[in-house]
Symmetry: C2
Subunit: 116 residues, 2 copies
DNA sequence: ATAGTCCATCGACGGATGTCAATATATGGA
DNA sequence: TCCATATATTGACATCCGTCGATGGACTAT
C-alpha cells in the first residue's frame, strides 16, 4: 500500500487517450480500493445517511464485521482520499469526499466531459 | 470468479441510496476487474486505438507481458462484460463494451443522473 | 500431411489481501 | 487515580491473484 497520497492528479479518461503505465498503476490502485464489498457498503452507509458523516461505532453493527476489520477498511478508504476523518472526543467521524469519487468516475467517461 | 454474467443489472448509485449487501458484492466484483494496471491499459489500448478493436498479438508487445498473462486478463475483462470478443481466422479481436463502462461510471454518481 | 502461427488453458509459485482475536492507545467520567 | 468506552494497531491465518513456462487446440499455407 504505497503511493496513495499522490493519486490526486489521476484520472484522465482512459478510454479516450492512451493511458501511461504509471497512471494505470495509480488508477488501478484507486479502483482496487473500490473492489471490496465492505468498503462499498461503508461508502454507501455514510453517504446515504442523513448526517453526511458517521462514527465507527455506528457502522460495526450494520456491516456485520468485527471492529478491527471495519477500522482497517476505513484506513484504506481514508488513505485513498475517499474519506475524510474527524476525531471528536473518543469518537472518529468519517465523511465521503465527493470530489474524489467524481474524479474516479470521470476516468470512466466514454465521451468527452463537459467543462465545469 | 463467479457471478460474472449477472452483473448486468448492477450499478445503482451507491452514494445516493443505501446499497444492498448482495449488490455490493456485484459492484465490488466489477471494480476489482478495473483494479489492475494491466487491465486498464488493455482497455485504453483498445479504446484509444483507431480501429475500435484489436487482436491479441497487437497487445502483447506494448503491454510488456507474456502472451498467457495477456490472455488471462482478456478473459477476466470479457467475463466481466467489459470486452466483446470476435474470432476471425486464427485471430481473436477484442472491443470495448461502452455501455458496460458507463454502467460502472454511473454507480459512482454523486448527483442524480439525467435521464437519457 | 506437415509445419507454423495465434490463442487459450494448465500448473506452479510468490506476494498481496480480508478477516479475526488480542493488545495497545486515547479520551472522558467517577 | 482508576475504570469504561471508542478506536487503532499487531500478528497470524487462509485465501485470492498476477505472473510465467509449458502445453494443447485450432486454423492456414505450403
Amino acid at each position: 500500500m504505497k503511493n496513495l497520497r499522490t493519486i490526486e492528479q489521476c484520472c484522465s479518461p482512459l478510454l479516450q487517450e492512451p493511458i501511461e503505465p504509471a497512471e494505470a498503476v495509480q488508477l488501478a490502485t484507486a479502483f482496487k480500493v473500490l473492489g471490496d464489498p465492505a468498503r462499498l457498503r461503508i461508502l454507501s452507509l455514510i453517504a446515504a445517511g442523513s448526517a453526511g458523516e458517521m462514527c465507527v461505532c455506528e457502522m460495526v453493527g450494520p456491516l456485520g464485521l468485527s471492529q478491527p476489520t471495519v477500522s482497517h477498511h476505513l484506513k484504506v478508504l481514508h488513505e485513498a482520499g475517499l474519506l475524510r476523518r474527524e476525531k471528536r472526543g473518543t469518537w472518529a467521524f468519517y465523511a465521503v469526499v465527493p470530489e474524489r469519487v467524481e474524479a474516479l468516475r470521470d476516468a470512466l467517461s466514454v465521451t468527452a466531459a463537459v467543462p465545469a
